[in-house]
Symmetry: C2
Subunit: 161 residues, 2 copies
């Protein structure tokens, strides 16, 4: 089922950040909960064909998270980080590192949830890296793969499908 809400990725050349924008047919409190409740989070993270393991999930200041996606045929990919800020229902700030790359290429993500009329929500996710190269490496390593699909899974979760 095609979603009425499109995922927008903005990644200008020679900049070290990217911005993902997405709207959801759900009130802000519920969208925030889908990002911080492990039972909900595991249901929409990652590509549709993957099994997602929440190895660690502590959405609070200083908390660690680590996810491993099992995409079948023995292939897994993981990512992890720490939470700098978790303010319900408006903002989550956390670090982000893809595993299996040289260490030290870390992103800083700020996710802002805005309440829209009609119990809708706009989510803006800005991810910044130390260099533009780091950002592009993250994109090429598959950071975006599954993201669009993940949001569609989230739509379905909100729709109760």
């Amino acid at each position: 089922v095609a979603s009425k809400n499109q995922t927008t990725l903005k990644a200008e050349p020679n900049k070290a950040y990217l911005t993902i924008t997405r709207e959801f047919e759900a009130p802000r409190e519920l969208v925030f909960r889908a990002y911080t409740d492990p039972k909900l989070y595991v249901r929409w993270q990652g590509p549709r064909n993957s099994k997602t393991l929440l190895d660690k999930f502590e959405p609070r200041i200083g908390g660690i998270y680590r996810l491993v996606h099992d995409v079948g045929e023995g292939q897994t990919f993981g990512w992890h980080g720490v939470y700098h800020e978790v303010t319900s229902p408006e903002r989550i700030v956390s670090t982000f590192e893809i595993e299996g790359l040289p260490k030290g290429h870390v992103g800083l993500g700020t996710i802002v949830f805005e309440a829209l009329p009609g119990d809708r929500t706009r989510m803006t996710h800005t991810e910044v890296y130390a260099t533009g190269e780091d950002r592009d490496t993250a994109i090429e390593a598959g950071m975006m793969s599954g993201v669009t699909e993940g949001y569609e899974r989230l739509d379905e979760l909100f729709a109760g499908e």
Copy 2:
């Protein structure tokens, strides 16, 4: 006493990061320890006229830190963050937020220690923000004040003064 080692700050216009470079007359292990041992850390952080309180100091993944500098006459300023990576003796990655500003303006710092010949060390500190404006706000809010002096205090600590 003027230091033989100069602190270099590079902050190009329209970029969201800054880079601080500094060399020290001490081996890498000792410089790393000055960043991670609370007894040493508190001795050189901040401006010379300040009293520094380590409210929280947990240099490990997921650990929190919070420093408050008391600069006298009832004036204090604080900053805090979380550690994403602490790899002895080569790298520390952590978030950084100045208190007393609107929330959500967070930096991501990567500190790399390189061993130089003659038991010397080069420290490179890259700090990246979500926007160039955030970076400049941090600089203007006094992020750099005391940094140069702090490194001079660290020279003195290494020299055993």
